[in-house]
Subunit: 96 residues, 5 copies
């Protein structure tokens, strides 16, 4: 899984029928402190994540293993909201 | 999913039998403003996307989860046309 | 799918039994004009592609969705030979 | 599989129901000597790995082929703890 | 598939039960001449490859399509030993 920050939202009227009423959020990967890097990508939200939240995303066929994404043409899913991260005994991120 | 711009078309007479009458479009990934970067890739269109449209593409086995791509040897599918993108409360892209 | 150019052949006496009599070709990815870049990779040919041809390759489990690759340990397949590519209204590649 | 070092832990109260009581560890890829490089990623631990251990992680649908990860929305799993690595006849890493 | 050189071995006492008695080798990707580049990765050997051999590896779910790797948590498999490679009519590698 990747550690990522939710930075935005997408709106699409025309989309695959299995995606209706699914929330497609824009994310950027982060390191263990929550600092973003790299280009944005889009994932289906299954845990009611909010803008600014640090989350975990799973990619590929694993993205279809939730109740909301089963059999859907989606390759990335937010499956956890991060409360805190700890590296080498130090808390590097805590949700505010 | 990746945010991408449809930039062109491919024509292939010789192809896998499951791809006959499928539209294979050329795309380049974009950031949240629609600015393209990176090298072109090809995806099956399932939402009647047009040249210049910003779309979402799903990769891997997820690309086969639409009615048009089921059981086909394709690893990328256009499954949504983007109307608008919003990042940090600001609209960064709106379809013209 | 990736746009790629067939540049060579591989010969392997010792290989998985499901690969016997399969043609494993060497490719390099290209841009929309057919200019190669990046490192070589190998794909199973299912469309009788020739050296120098521009083709499309599908990766991952999608590579096993052809009659010749079903249930085989292969992660890349040539599933189309490109006749022409057009970007922004201009033909950028035509098979000679 | 990737050679990776376990560097930290994640805590998530809100997560997919299939992930409850699963240990999600932070890792960074290493070379054959155990030197880390690249950005952190997160994997499910199935072998009781500890902080500082060198491990192997499997990605994609393969991450769901263990008893602890079956049908879960996870795309990376720790499936082995490394005792030692040997390259060109020389031991390059040995667990202390 | 990737062209890769077998450079070493891994030893793991603690691993997923499906991996017992499987040989996990360290590889580095090569170009068409056998010159290595990039960081090491690990694959299951199914063709009795030796240190120094040039081989082909398949990734993802395709890595589980051999008799030795079925249903195992592995994402890379050696499925062929390369005898020779030919690019643009010239032999670029021949097994010695």
């Amino acid at each position: 899984m990747l550690i990522a920050k939710v930075i935005g939202t997408t709106i699409s009227t025309i989309k695959d029928e299995k995606l209706h009423s699914r929330k497609l959020l824009i994310l950027r990967q982060t390191d263990e402190t929550g600092a973003v890097f790299g280009k944005p990508y889009v994932a289906v939200d299954t845990v009611d994540a909010g803008i600014g939240d640090l989350v975990l995303t799973a990619a590929g066929s694993s993205a279809r293993q939730t109740n909301l994404t089963k059999d859907s043409p989606v390759d990335s899913v937010i499956m956890a909201v991060i409360d805190s991260l700890e590296v080498d005994g130090t808390v590097t991120f805590r949700k505010s």
